[in-house]
Symmetry: C2
Subunit: 116 residues, 2 copies
DNA sequence: CTCGTGCGCAACCACTAGTTGCAGGAGGTT
DNA sequence: AACCTCCTGCAACTAGTGGTTGCGCACGAG
């Protein structure tokens, strides 16, 4: 069967949002508009260096864009790419939902048949 | 701010479905009804041992249930728990979507104000 | 009983998330 | 100009994980 949902997702994107720390970083960037490695690490339980590494990953996935201003580098979320990521999550979710419902329907059919 | 979306998700669940191989395994279990480590590895690009390790992770996350039959162990998806996982993905997705739309609305407001 | 097949365990490799420590460069202050 | 501060980047090290190979064991079918 070629309807394998795993084939439809961009693994770089998915693994980028798969990490809990990176999800929280995206969350912070969304609520605060922008941020640097240092300001983000203030609101996270990890060091600045760890945040910097995650920012590299997010940048490679295209989820953030960076603008060097003076001696700091401000990051902010790339709306389009994050929308794509959200769409992929929704795609996987709806696929699984559909299969679960199909299974449920079959189970009910069997149960009804046994009651007759 | 307590609206942090990362606080709402079960990290065990999320990291379980975060791995591409595990997603494909769930997919196979959904389409085929059930499977063992060996039968799953036939349809995957990894060895049986790797699959077995993933099955442990999925089992700990509650996403699959196992029934030993004879000398083999048949795994199948736990519908309720997978539904929970799907719901969490949808939750994160809709939260981000809402924030993106709020940002977009603000941006449009600013642009309109500048044009006046 | 024997053979085959499925499972589990152990050792090993590669990569990633995290840490600490240090060097360097841009900005503001005196 | 000199200095101090603060943010960044690089390097080395640890812990955990996804993956492999190899082996031993047990159970079911012939």
């Amino acid at each position: 069967m070629s309807t394998d949902v795993a084939d439809k997702v961009d693994d770089h994107l998915w693994s980028a949002i798969g990490d809990p720390t990176r999800r929280r970083m995206l969350d912070l960037l969304l609520t605060q508009g922008d941020g640097t490695a240092t300001t983000l690490s203030d609101h996270l339980p990890v060091t600045r260096q760890a945040v910097a590494k995650h920012l590299v990953v997010l940048d490679r996935a295209g989820l953030v864009r960076v603008t060097p201003t003076g001696r700091e580098k401000r990051y902010r979320v790339d709306d389009v790419q994050l929308s794509r990521a959200v769409a992929q999550m929704a795609s996987v979710g709806s696929t699984w939902d559909a299969r679960l419902q199909r299974i449920k329907r079959i189970a009910e059919t069997i149960q009804r048949a046994q009651q007759d």
